[in-house]
Structures are given as structure tokens and as C-alpha cells.
């Protein structure tokens, strides 16, 4: 029913709105960027003095994890936060007054936030690579791993965004979970030594495996063949599929539920 040619137009409209909004809050955004530029090197120094020797490879490993974490949780916080905020303020209902399906609008919004966050994270990443003087190259396998990881997290974003339409408190829960996830995704300190716990986290949490694989491709420079044969690509692909499907189903059900209890708007 909906013309696929409309998608780029709607994407641009959402992007424009998002950027205008970002511009209005640019000081907040810039100060958090500045914060990490100071805080991250400081963390590396602390690790160094604690473990007695946190070399460039380990720093790079931490930086990769941190950037993925920052990108993904930034998206989750922004999307669930905006649903809660817009439901309270009243714009959410207005946004739903369109023939475009809510799922499409929300998916576009997630894509837009990812796009903007990707730019922010890239700038932050490049600055940190320079400040910390790290050896850093980018490669094809890493790109694919990154893409699959983002797809999984997008699925989580759909689910959380849907739930935020029903439960107003999801917003604050997401805040706590994203902070905790810096630990259980192994974002800063790799968890590979945790054995079975790591295996579980890897399969069940949406970022852990991706971060691990990204480190393998970027730090240890593992290429296509081993990623393929050790099942990483398959695993990440299945994970992305499962998270996206669950996310879509949750979103659709939640929207219906929100229509039932009238929670798209303030009450």
C-alpha cells in the first residue's frame, strides 16, 4: 500500500527534524563529547596504573568496545527517551496521525538516530585514536560485523520504543541497563576469560558478541575465512534476525496495546 519511494523522503524529513532538534540542544551534545574526550584517556591511564601495563592493543580493544557501546546505547536511550517525552508532551499522537505505519516511522527514527550517532561517534573515535596515539585501520569484515551488531541493537530499540508507549517508566530502566551494559557487554574490559558466563552473554545480549568479533577483526586482524568458518558471521546474522523479528513483533503489539489504554498521549 505504501509507496517504497516515499521512504527516502520520510527519512530525510526525520533526519531534518532530528538535526534541528540536535542543534537546539547542541551544547549538551558537545559537552558530552568533550566529557568523553577527557574521561576516556583518563580511564586508560587508570587501567594502566592498576594493571601495570595497558598497551596500545589493549587500549584499542577498550576503545572499540567503548565506541560501539556509546553508539548503541546512545541510540537506545535517545529513542526510548523520545517516545516517553513525546507521549508526555503530546507530539507522539500527532506523529501517528499519518497514513504511514507507526512501525515504518519508528524504524526510520531509529535509523536516523543511528546515522547521527554514527557521525558523532566517528568524530569522537578519531579524536581518541589521535590523542591516545593508537594504530587503527578499518576493514571490510569489521564493517559487516558492525552492521550486524547495529541491526541487533535496532531490534532491541524497536522493542523498547514499543514498550515505552505502554510503560512510562521504561525510560529510566533503560538508563540503568545501558550503564550496566558497559560491564556485561565487555565494552571496556574484555570478558573472554569468563568462560561459560561470557558464552551466555555472547548469545543472549545484543552487543557482546559483536564487540568481541569487532576486536578480533580490528585488533587481531582476523579475516573473512575465519569469521566465516568459526561461525561468527552466522551467529551475528541469526542474532540480528532474531532481535529484529522480536523487536518488530513487540513494537506492533505494544502499539495496539497503547491504542487500547490510550497511552500514546498524556494521561
Amino acid at each position: 500500500m505504501m509507496n517504497a519511494l516515499l521512504l527516502p523522503k520520510l527519512f530525510l524529513a526525520e533526519l531534518r527534524r532530528d538535526v534541528c532538534h540536535w542543534w537546539s540542544y547542541r551544547l549538551n551534545a558537545l559537552s558530552s563529547l568533550g566529557l568523553w574526550l577527557v574521561a576516556f584517556p583518563f580511564m586508560m591511564l587508570t587501567f594502566d596504573s592498576m594493571s601495570g601495563g595497558y598497551g596500545p592493543e589493549q587500549r584499542l580493544a577498550s576503545l572499540i568496545g567503548f565506541l560501539v557501546w556509546e553508539l548503541c546505547t546512545g541510540m537506545l536511550v535517545a529513542t526510548t527517551g523520545s517516545v516517553t517525552e513525546e507521549a508526555q508532551q503530546g507530539t507522539l499522537e500527532n506523529v501517528m496521525l499519518t497514513p504511514v505505519s507507526p512501525l515504518v516511522i519508528f524504524s526510520l527514527r531509529i535509523t536516523v538516530v543511528f546515522t547521527r550517532k554514527a557521525v558523532e561517534t566517528t568524530i569522537l573515535g578519531l579524536a581518541l585514536v589521535i590523542i591516545l596515539n593508537l594504530p587503527f585501520t578499518w576493514n571490510g569484515p569489521a564493517l559487516l560485523v558492525m552492521g550486524l551488531t547495529i541491526a541487533s541493537v535496532a531490534g532491541v530499540g524497536l522493542a523498547l520504543g514499543g514498550l515505552a508507549m505502554i510503560y512510562k517508566s521504561i525510560d529510566s530502566i533503560v538508563g540503568v541497563i545501558t550503564l550496566l551494559s558497559v560491564l556485561f557487554t565487555g565494552a571496556l574490559i574484555p570478558l573472554n576469560n569468563l568462560g561459560i558466563v561470557f558464552a551466555l552473554l555472547k548469545y543472549l545480549a545484543p552487543m557482546t558478541w559483536g564487540i568481541d568479533a569487532l576486536r578480533a577483526t580490528l585488533v587481531s586482524e582476523i579475516g573473512w575465512p575465519s569469521l566465516w568458518f568459526d561461525g561468527t558471521l552466522w551467529g551475528l546474522g541469526i542474532q540480528a534476525f532474531v532481535f529484529l523479528s522480536l523487536g518488530t513483533a513487540t513494537f506492533i503489539r505494544s502499539f495496539r496495546r497503547a491504542q487500547m489504554q490510550g497511552s500514546l498521549g498524556t494521561y
Binding site: 527534524r17 503530546g90 507530539t91 500527532n94 506523529v95 499519518t98 497514513p99 489504554q261 498521549g265
Partner: protein
């Protein structure tokens, strides 16, 4: 086909989960091309719920809603493209975006073709006198300007149906008057159907062809504006008689038995008798009765019921003798 109503609400009931009473209870209404219908009711009557169900934002528990012939539960996307709405409250727009960016965003979202959108925005900004402010962030707008811009945003895709939930709520007298004039202009447009809610009788009287009074989720009255007002204005004359001293309960009971519909409001050292709908001859009888009972009459007045009172008596909120 030509006689098909733009909005057809049939036997709709809405019970929110965990709510004790239904918010809307067996309501049926229809809205035809070119018609303006005012949904009137006190707080919590179910006006907003009804409007949101028409817009497909809230699902009815039972009953059906058709917009331009499309079922709003089964084919929401088809119906919603004909709807423009200004919902309750101040935040129909993004406060952090300029007026122009808001119109652009909502225009695109409602699938207005690019070329058309440009002209449409200019046209609407001119219509609402907001051209000079188009680059200003909406949060810097006055409440009246925000409300005008919200209506402009609702009209971007030139919808056949306009839903306005409490459009003048929170505006000062002057801004409300201005907005009222703007809406009046819209009601002149042929073929557009407008559903507006309010708890202000005068607004409805000025703008609406028909009035639908809702109370506790149920229809109380529904009629052409003029006949509704006429009916209640003639029957609802109120006589007010001020009597010296506090009246005894016994006497009040006697009064009420002899003259149905009378209420006694005790004041510090007087009693006010109010008697809506009384005839001249009955009033004379009442005065005689009071005289016989040695009650000193301080003041007698007679006035027409205000619209407010008509409304209150319709919704049964001020009928202690019922």
C-alpha cells in the same frame, strides 16, 4: 454516496483497562460534509476519548467508527489521511523547532507532495498571520500563536475533516476571540466537516451547527444549536427570591412540596430561593405563601438562564430535586 457522512460513530463504548466506568458509553453520532458539530461536556465527560477514537489513536471497546467510509480499527491508514487534528493541550508541535520546520516535517509526514507543500505552507502562514514568525522556535510563541500554528499544521494536507479538542483552552480572552474568528472562517469552507469539543457553551453557540452534549460518557442531548438553545432558554427562566433570616427545614420541605423544583440556599442571615422554570402565576402563589408564613421578602429577581446553566441542568449537575 453523496449522502455518506464523513464521520460515522455507531454505538461506541470505550472502557479503559482498569477503569471503573466506561469513558464513553454507547455513543452514536455522525458528521456530514460542511457541518460543524460541537461536543460539549464537563471535565471527564468523554470528549477527548471520543475525538481520539475518531482519529484512531484510541481503540473502542465496542462499536464501530467510520471515517470517509473506512473502519478506523481495520483500515486506520485509509481513514486517517482525511483527518487533521489539533489535540488537547499545548504541545501539538515540536517546541524546539521553528514554525517552518514544524510545518515542513508534518507536511512530509502526511505525504504532501514536495511542490505543493511549499505553497501550502506559505498559504497557511499567511492565513494565520504567522509569516513574520516562521523562523522562530515554537516555544517562543504565545499560546495563541501556538494554537494557530497547530491548526495550520493540521490543515497541511487539506483534510476533509478537522478535529479540534478544546481549541481555546488556556487562551486569554482576546486570543480566544481571535482564534474563534479563525475557526469561524474555516467553518465557512464548503465540504469540510469540523468536530470540536469544548466546555464553553458560547464557543459552541457561535461556531457549531449542531451540539452534542455528553456527560459521563453518555449522550445527554443532541440537536441543532438554535433549537437546543431556544428550547432551554424559554423553559429555563429563573426566579430568585431573597428572604430575611434562616428558613427552617420544615418550611423548606413544605415549600418544595408545594412548588416543585425550588431550592433554598442558606446565607449568613438570609435565604435565597431559586426556582427555575417558574411561571408568573406560580410565582405569585409562592409570594402569597411566603407572606402567609411571615417571611420577610427582601428582594425578587427574575432572569434568563445563562447558557452555562442550561448546560449544567442538561448534564444533571445542578438538579438537587431530581
Amino acid at each position: 454516496m453523496n449522502n455518506q457522512p464523513f464521520i460515522q460513530v455507531s454505538e461506541v463504548t470505550k472502557r479503559y483497562p482498569r477503569a471503573e466506568n466506561p469513558a464513553v458509553n454507547g455513543v452514536s453520532l455522525s458528521l456530514h460534509p460542511g457541518e460543524t458539530l460541537a461536543l460539549l461536556g464537563p471535565n471527564g465527560a468523554g470528549k477527548t476519548t471520543t475525538v481520539k477514537m475518531v482519529a484512531g489513536l484510541v481503540l473502542p471497546t465496542s462499536g464501530t467508527i467510520h471515517v470517509m467510509g473506512h473502519d478506523m480499527v481495520l483500515a486506520r491508514a485509509k481513514g486517517v489521511r482525511h483527518i487533521g487534528a489539533v489535540l488537547e493541550g499545548a504541545r501539538n508541535l515540536y517546541w524546539r523547532l521553528s514554525a517552518l520546520e514544524n510545518l515542513r516535517y508534518f507536511g512530509n509526514l502526511r505525504l504532501v507532495p514536495r511542490r505543493e507543500l511549499f505553497h501550502r505552507i506559505e498559504e497557511l502562514l499567511a492565513l494565520f498571520g504567522l509569516e513574520a514568525h516562521k523562523h522562530q522556535e515554537v516555544r517562543q510563541f504565545s499560546r495563541g500563536m501556538q494554537q494557530k500554528l497547530a491548526i495550520a499544521a493540521a490543515l497541511l494536507h487539506d483534510p476533509k475533516i478537522l478535529l479540534l479538542d478544546e481549541p481555546t483552552l488556556g487562551l486569554d480572552v482576546q486570543a480566544a476571540k481571535q482564534l474563534e474568528a479563525t475557526i469561524a472562517q474555516l467553518t465557512q469552507e464548503q465540504e469540510k466537516a469540523i468536530l470540536l469539543t469544548s466546555h464553553m457553551m458560547p464557543l459552541a453557540e457561535k461556531l457549531a451547527d449542531r451540539i452534542f452534549v455528553i456527560h459521563k460518557g453518555r449522550k445527554v442531548a443532541s440537536d441543532a444549536t438554535r433549537s437546543l438553545l431556544e428550547r432551554y432558554n424559554t423553559h429555563q427562566d429563573i426566579a430568585e427570591i431573597q428572604v430575611a433570616g434562616q428558613m427552617t427545614q420544615v418550611l423548606i420541605a413544605q415549600l418544595q412540596q408545594a412548588f416543585g423544583g425550588i431550592t433554598a440556599i442558606p446565607n449568613a442571615n438570609t435565604t435565597m430561593l431559586r426556582w427555575p422554570g417558574s411561571e408568573q402565576t406560580q410565582l405569585i402563589q409562592l409570594l402569597q405563601f411566603l407572606d402567609e408564613q411571615d417571611q420577610a421578602i427582601l428582594d425578587i429577581g427574575r432572569r434568563q438562564a445563562s447558557l452555562e446553566e442550561v448546560f449544567l441542568s442538561l448534564t444533571g449537575m445542578e438538579q438537587p430535586n431530581e
